[in-house]
């Protein structure tokens, strides 16, 4: 009971790793530091591959382009602004969002500035682009569309928020002329990309319980579009499959996650709040398998990588789980904690750790 005694014991202690017989070996192709890591923040900083170049942004604003195969640094630039969301390399343009409420567009060739637009609040999710429209979602749940040529704001739609929200923000998805976005209120909405007219709204999860904490049902993970299904998952709520055109809920299953999902072989892979990685059948919502050996290891969002599901954890281990039964197939230790979702490109797997070091891994 002393004044400074460690009286705050950990409520959830991470499960220690057990030995297993590996069926796949991993090796490091190259590794490079790309600037400052995310440290304790919950921003969405993950690298983005375009052509055979991988672009990445550090938390304090260093943007660099590396050759995907060899990791050779093509160019790198210090923006000197806190980057919240990004980087998205699409159509020769690099998009990122900042903590002081701006969306920046850089030229993919040399990183020079294209345009910069001030939006309503912090951007800690990845701006998306389709055709000549960039769509960004800020943490005040406002979706803003910006002209990709000159950075002028085309339209913006605001949404009501609960008093207490979960730190983090979902990145919208653009598909077939519509923008799909998930919000802190647990609702999913679709807007027409030209003028932002709302197409449909549907409830992914309903708040329940008495205190503000129990009533949080934020959708922080990005929507995943496969075919005409929009898959969404909310915190302390459900995973749900929505019909892209009407927003009707095809199925929903009670699960709580705030990290993005990925898909493969007809099923969805997601990491829930207690770091269980599970696979859910896209058509029926039934749970395929559920890997609990990584309980409480603050596992990152999963990425489908060849026939495996790749996740990172708090000690810097990359785990490869078999997509079939979720069993641990391989494990490889990189530097420190991995928070960002791994990125698969060709047969390379790129992993960014919290200290801002980018690793390219391949199977032996």
């Amino acid at each position: 009971c002393g004044m400074f005694s460690k009286d705050e014991e950990e409520v959830r202690t991470p499960k220690p790793l057990t030995s297993f017989e590996a069926s796949v070996e991993m090796k490091q192709v190259w590794s490079q530091s790309i600037g400052e890591g995310v440290q304790g923040g919950y921003e969405r900083l993950k690298p983005s591959v375009f052509g055979d170049v991988i672009y990445s942004a550090g938390a304090e604003g260093t943007v660099s382009a590396l050759e995907a195969e060899t990791g050779k640094r093509l160019w790198s630039r210090k923006l000197g602004v806190q980057v919240g969301g990004g980087i998205n390399a699409m159509q020769g343009m690099l998009l990122l969002g900042t903590l002081d409420g701006r969306v920046l567009a850089l030229n993919a060739e040399d990183g020079s500035d294209l345009w910069e637009t001030r939006v309503s609040s912090e951007v800690i999710s990845v701006p998306q682009v389709s055709g000549d429209t960039v769509v960004v979602q800020t943490i005040d749940d406002t979706v803003t569309a910006i002209n990709a040529e000159n950075g002028k704001i085309i339209w913006s739609q605001e949404n009501l928020q609960p008093a207490l929200t979960l730190r983090g923000s979902s990145s919208p998805r653009i598909e077939k002329g519509a923008v799909f976005a998930g919000f802190h209120s647990g609702e999913a909405r679709a807007y027409r990309i030209e003028d932002g007219t709302p197409l449909w709204v549907s409830k992914v999860a309903l708040p329940k319980g008495s205190s503000e904490l129990e009533r949080m049902v934020d959708i922080n993970s990005s929507p995943l579009i496969v075919g005409d299904n929009v898959f969404m998952v909310s915190y302390q709520g459900n995973a749900a499959a929505l019909d892209m055109y009407s927003g009707r809920v095809r199925w929903n299953r009670e699960i709580s996650s705030y990290k993005s999902m990925s898909s493969g072989f007809g099923s969805l892979y997601l990491t829930d709040q207690d770091s269980y990685v599970s696979s859910i059948d896209q058509r029926t919502g039934a749970v395929g398998w559920r890997q609990d050996q990584l309980e409480y290891r603050q596992v990152s969002a999963p990425t489908a990588y060849s026939s495996y599901v790749a996740v990172g954890d708090l000690d810097g281990y990359v785990h490869l789980l078999s997509q079939v039964d979720g069993s641990v197939a391989g494990r490889y230790k990189v530097g420190t904690a991995i928070k960002a979702q791994p990125v698969a490109a060709g047969d390379l797997l790129f992993v960014l750790d919290a200290k801002g070091k980018l690793y390219a891994l391949d199977r032996k």
């Binding site: 705050e8 950990e10 923040g41 309503s120 609040s121 943490i139 005040d140 979960l166 802190h184 904490l213």
Partner: protein, 756 residues
């Protein structure tokens, strides 16, 4: 059926009376079954019973009840951050304590109550579970175990959209701070909704006070991390443009003339628009109207911005409302002090037109008495009348004087008996009384003084004092002689303005000196010349002024006093003493105040007296003078006859002062009876003639200087004063910076009941 009697069985704790009260059926009613069901429901609503059966035995209505168990004990485990007593208090405030009736709803209420207490402390991750254990005699034991989890701290506060002021400047406004090195110290990094709304208000007025009239907070996000240990706050703002004032005009019934009102208005054309200037002008104008008796006056400054040229036209609408009158002035909290002691300080009369300045001035006068730790005033309107108010003063009394008693024994002094009472509010009568009696084999000291500050209702004060002191011993700090004194004086004073008063006193004082074996020659020569017996008749004329905000431990204002004391011709020694004392408070920041104080004293003989008697000299050093030096050891010292230590003999000119910084102690809540300060003291005692009777410096005299600045002694240190019922307790830790010659240092000094 007609109910002939009602019988209740199964009653244990609840009294039959309560059951009958809530039973809608009486003896003699003709009762049908729905009424019986209704009766059962109403009984259930009392919440005392688990189960109620309504039966019938002939014409007797039988009510058999099973009482709900009562909670015999509530035990809470696993709680460290919040003490069990606080949790229990929270529980009993929502009706859950030992001895209460146990209901299932109470268990849920307990869980919610405890969770609320933890959330309010920022421990969002806390999880609480409770289990119930039945005990014999229908009692229940509740064990609640708590998993507290970590306290959520604020990881980052971000203001989006501020371009005008740098990020740090804006964050400084916030009471909530990002967690950092020293945040475990206070709770500024714990999120609380009230603190955030206070911060937003400060942010808004910061902008509005600097011309940004269209400033607007678009939205605020408070988000928490999934592990519930970090809170993120984002405030999105639109600054808008900076506006300047175009023209200012007044409208409505001004009561006071336009000219005076106009120069009371702080807002001037083409000055930057500022909301604070508007609110302060509103206050000044309504207070000015209050002085004319319009306490219900209402002044509102309305800005009309015109957006093209970014200017604002300001109009102050003045509604005097009705002239208000005071019906009654009530005092509460004065359990010890008499009502008249408070009422005579009032500048506002009952049955008179209410005057805000007088009401405020009366409050300051009460604080200046020094009897009260806290004085609050409120002026509620009298119900049922549109223009009458009552003035209610609530006071919180504090000890106003000191009581000391001492019994001791030492080989040199023998048995020591002593006691002294000095109260400035004796028995609540407002009179200043001090009685001192000390008796030991070596010395007897008796003194008595009585002053009635309000001998007349207008504040003419009158008092008298008697003292008798007899020493027959060598060892005291002042050079080796003992002075037996006896005397008495009469003193008067009366106010000559709201803050100034003059006082005069006359008294007679007899002194007899007896020397010891070590008495320095300086003294023995003097006594040979002047004889050992002195009888002086003294008259004093003084003037004093005080604008302090409080009687005890003031923090603002200044006070000064000057006095001339003359011994009437015909006394054995004729001299005059000039004294001047002043102190000044200058608030530096919200919590820091600077205090500067100084004292000047000069004695000179007249008539046939050339040298001043040494026992009338000024002595310096120690408390109330230059701390860090032993009491009364500054200034000229004479070598003792044999042996070479020196005793101080004082001087005829004293100059001393102090510069202090008063700061609040971080942990102490009640700052009103405690004062801590960092101080720099300076001063010394000088002598116009250093006893050079035969032309050159007398070898036996040391540290004797003519008044000059470079002979001042300095000391610096920290002091603490604490007002206790036994009297002001003062400590000081001081380092003498430039002791010279025979000055004696004393780092730690302590005193009880000494004037400070």
């Amino acid at each position: 059926f007609v109910v002939s009697d009602i019988r209740i069985d199964g009653l244990q704790r609840v009294s039959a009376g309560t059951v009958f009260n809530s039973l809608p059926i009486e003896v003699g009613d003709d009762v049908l079954s729905p009424q019986v069901a209704e009766a059962a429901r109403s009984l259930f609503r009392t919440g005392y019973f688990n189960d109620i059966q309504m039966g019938r035995d002939g014409n007797v209505l039988v009510v058999s009840v099973v009482e709900r168990p009562s909670i015999s004990q509530i035990k809470i485990e696993g709680n460290k951050a919040i003490k069990t007593e606080d949790l229990m208090k929270g529980l009993s405030s929502s009706g859950l304590s030992e001895g209460e009736i146990f209901q299932q709803a109470t268990l849920e209420a307990i869980r919610l109550e405890l969770e609320r207490q933890y959330v309010s402390q920022g421990r969002y991750g806390a999880r609480i579970s409770a289990d119930v254990e039945a005990l014999p005699r229908n009692r229940v034991k509740l064990t609640i175990n708590v998993k507290e989890g970590k306290v959520a701290t604020i990881r980052h506060i971000n203001v989006v959209g501020n371009t005008v002021f740098p990020h740090e400047e804006v964050l400084d406004l916030f009471e909530l701070k990002e967690t950092g090195m020293f945040s475990f110290f206070g709770s500024s990094d714990k999120y609380s909704r009230e603190k955030l709304s206070g911060d937003l208000e400060r942010l808004r007025s910061y902008y509005l006070d600097r011309g940004y009239i269209n400033f607007n907070i678009r939205s605020t996000q408070v988000s928490i991390s999934p592990d519930k240990q970090s809170v993120f706050i984002t405030v999105n703002i639109d600054e808008g443009e900076k506006y300047t004032i175009n023209e200012v005009n007044l409208s409505g019934d001004l009561i006071i003339d336009e000219e005076e009102a106009r120069n009371l208005v702080l807002a001037k054309p083409d000055q930057t628009f500022s909301r604070r200037i508007i609110t302060t002008t509103e206050e000044i104008l309504s207070r000015r109207l209050g002085n004319e008796g319009y306490t219900f006056a209402n002044v509102s400054g309305i800005p009309t911005p015109n957006h093209e040229n970014k200017t604002v036209d300001l109009t102050f609408f003045v509604e005097p409302g009705r002239r208000a009158y005071v019906r009654r002035i009530n005092f509460s909290g004065n359990t010890k002090t008499e009502d008249e002691v408070l009422r005579r300080e009032m500048r506002q009369m009952e049955g008179a037109s209410a005057n805000t300045e007088n009401i405020e001035q009366s409050k300051v006068r009460l604080e200046r008495l020094g009897f009260f730790r806290q004085v609050d005033v409120e002026t509620p309107p009298v119900p049922g009348s549109s223009d009458q108010i009552d003035v209610n003063y609530t006071v919180e009394e504090q000890p106003s004087g000191s009581i000391t008693a001492s019994v001791g024994y030492s080989q040199s002094d023998g048995l020591l008996l002593g006691g002294s009472i000095s109260q400035s509010n004796f028995l609540g009568t407002g009179n200043n009384v001090s009685i001192g009696l000390n008796k030991s084999d070596v010395s007897q000291l008796y003194n008595f003084s009585f002053t009635d500050p309000y001998y007349t209702v207008d504040g003419v004060s009158r008092g008298f004092g008697l003292n008798y002191r007899k020493y027959d011993y060598k060892d005291s700090d002042i050079s080796s002689y003992a002075a037996d004194t006896w005397g008495g004086d009469v003193r008067f004073g009366y106010p000559i303005s709201e803050t100034e008063s003059i006082n005069f006193s006359a008294g007679v004082e007899g002194t007899k000196i007896t020397t010891g074996k070590d008495t320095p020659d300086y003294i023995t020569e003097y006594l040979k010349k002047e004889g050992k017996q002195f009888t002086n008749v003294k008259a004093t004329l003084g003037w004093s002024e005080s604008e302090l905000n409080r009687g005890l431990l003031p923090t603002r204002g200044y006070s000064q006093s000057a006095s001339l004391q003359v011994t009437v011709p015909g006394s054995s020694v004729t001299f005059y003493k000039l004294n001047y004392r002043a102190q000044y408070f200058q608030p530096l920041t919200k919590s820091l105040t600077a205090r500067f104080a100084g004292r000047l004293g000069y004695i000179a003989g007249y008539g046939d007296t050339s040298t001043i008697p040494f026992f009338e000299h000024y002595y310096g050093g120690g408390f109330g003078s230059v701390r860090g030096y032993k009491d009364n050891t500054l200034g000229p010292k004479a070598k003792e006859k044999n042996g070479n230590n020196f005793n101080s003999i004082g001087g005829d000119f004293i100059f001393e002062g102090t510069a202090e910084i008063l700061f609040p102690l971080p942990f102490v809540k009640d700052q009103r009876s405690l004062r801590t300060s960092l101080f720099l003291d300076f001063g010394n005692v000088f002598n116009s003639s250093c006893g050079t009777s035969n032309g050159k410096a007398n070898p036996d005299i040391e540290d004797c200087y003519k008044p000059s600045f470079d002979q001042l002694r300095y000391s610096a240190g920290v002091g603490l004063t604490w007002i206790t019922p036994l009297g002001p307790l003062t400590f000081s830790l001081a380092k003498a910076l430039n002791p010279k010659g025979k000055d004696e240092k004393q780092v730690f000094q302590f005193s009880l009941g000494a004037p400070f």
